[in-house]
Amino acid sequence: MSPSVDWAALLPQIFLGGGSLVMLTLGTLVRKRAPWWLPNVLGIGLTLAAFGSVVWQWVRVQDPSRGAFSTIAGTVQIDGFAVFLSGVVVIAALLALVFAPFSIRRAGLPPEEFSVLLLLSAAGGVTLASANDLIVLFLGLEVLSIAAYVLAALDLRRAGSQEAGLKYFVLGAFASAFFLYGAALIYGAAGSTKLDSVAAALAAGAGSNARGMLLAGFALLLVGLFFKVAAVPFHAWTPDVYEGAPSPAVAYMAAGVKAAGFAALLRLFAGTFSASSADWRPAVAVVAVITVLAGSALGVISGDVRRLLAYSSIGHAGFILVGLESAGANGTSASLLYLGVYAFMALGSFAVVMVMGRDASGSQPLAAYDGLARRSPWLALGFTLLLLAQAGLPFTTGFWAKFEVIGAAVQSRTYWLAAVSMLGAVVAAFVYLRLVVRMYLVRPGADGDALASQKSGVGLADDSRSGDEDSDSRPPVAVPRSVGFVVAVCAAVTLFFGVWPAPLLNLAGDATLAVLGG
């Protein structure tokens, strides 16, 4: 009766989830004597162990004699797709933990709770990526999200963080409820929660007598997951949460939570529901187009760097949706490539944003970057690289990600979608270039951008008083070694694989989505 459990398949969850519980216990036991950095170091160790087991799983899955496998009565499935996205989530948690000490020290985040919640959330993300059952999918989604709600509100004393936590929670819980209603309808229409059984039932024409139920299920699942990945009609929480939440948490959300959300979207729609792709593709196409365009356009008018990056993450979600829309192996691997590549860009960018700090009102006006290249040339260089990659400049990974996604759209003959995404990419490039220009060409205090200075009047007034003529009056930004390391790693990955993309393309190509029977 008891199902067989392949513990090796659960190693990342054991390291992340089990490790976080052990850490919590230890933390409560030795609270007084433990130094503040200990939970952080422990967390880094645990995520490294989880990453090691993910790599080991990858080798096992890619071994042609063994291949993808499922365990716990077929509810958990370890295939290339699952392992790839688990890797992205774990890397997001790892790098967020590496540069978190800065934020922990300055904002006074509780160090132990931060590490524990981040690990728990990552455990949820890994579960979500390898789920092969609607129940497990739901559990993974909730573990991922509930920990992330608390992470957003973790800067307990700052009102902006509380506000971010509340907004993220209310909309996230609302989205989860939609997702659940959709899952229930799919279960009713297909008669099973196992994804492979659902896929088989759909291919055999199940639900043809309950077509309305099936369509409603698709729609509700899409709405719930669009909320999680911040696609446009459901994106309203994103800028506020990204602005208010502590920066390491935001970096993890942008890289890890988004990847996990797309794991669910891709696994369900590109995998399980591929038999009825004619039903959901138009909806995804429309949302993808709106997301790409609105993400870029809203980024242009935002005057706060955190909000700008939030809108840019919305825009990126749109591009990844373009990959989903093409509903094939190519589209899926293009989306995976994009997620992996974007994780590094987001982590690096938010590390820079964290170092740049907040002004009195808790925001970070564009003017904070005026003349950064003169004050802190290395920081400016790293950030420039990450921004240009987000813009999709050739010789960066961002270019290949956009190239693959649009290529997948062309291949599936959705030419209009490809054309509109290219247009969106051009508009988005303007957003990033504006920030780069500020770093290199604008002198601090000079009114280079009327709109930005008007929107961020508070922060600017302070700066223009202190240094209206002398550009070197502001001290260089203090960059701790941990943050420098993260920015350097992210920039290096972005540049290296931008010049030599073959291994990355192969990696994403091997991350296939298997629909196995239990």
Partner: protein, 121 residues
């Protein structure tokens, strides 16, 4: 009339009887009881002490914390009952799983205790 609706008819009759009975008893009471209205009788009753403040007051935070802990543990029992009904079927595997589950729950309680949530301040 279908069987389904007929069984609801019983419910309807019961409901009707209940309403009639309550109405009857209240009317009877109002006819029989002596009635001497006094202002003091309309003050809300608060354990025999003179009532203080508004009737609509906020409860203390500590009730919330204990309530939350109670709900968590209460709800987790939902997994223990199905396991208990199939105790033999799952054998040692089920026992170990349940032990882990309860251990994690206890860990939560332990955390709450160490964080001084359980103190009645």
């Amino acid at each position: 009339m279908s069987d389904f609706l007929r069984s609801y008819l019983t419910v309807g009759i019961f409901a009707l009887l209940a309403v009639i009975m309550v109405a009857l008893m209240l009317t009877l009471a109002s006819v029989l009881r002596p009635e001497r209205p006094q202002k003091q009788k309309y003050i809300s009753y608060e354990s025999g002490v003179d009532p203080v403040g508004e009737g609509w007051s906020q409860s203390r935070l500590r009730y919330y914390l204990f309530g939350l802990l109670f709900v968590m543990f209460d709800v987790e029992a939902v997994f223990i009952f199905p396991w208990a009904t199939r105790l033999e079927t799952y054998g040692v595997f089920g026992l170990v799983e349940m032990a882990i589950f309860i251990f994690i729950l206890a860990l939560g309680l332990f955390y709450a205790w160490r964080k001084r949530v359980l103190q009645w301040v």
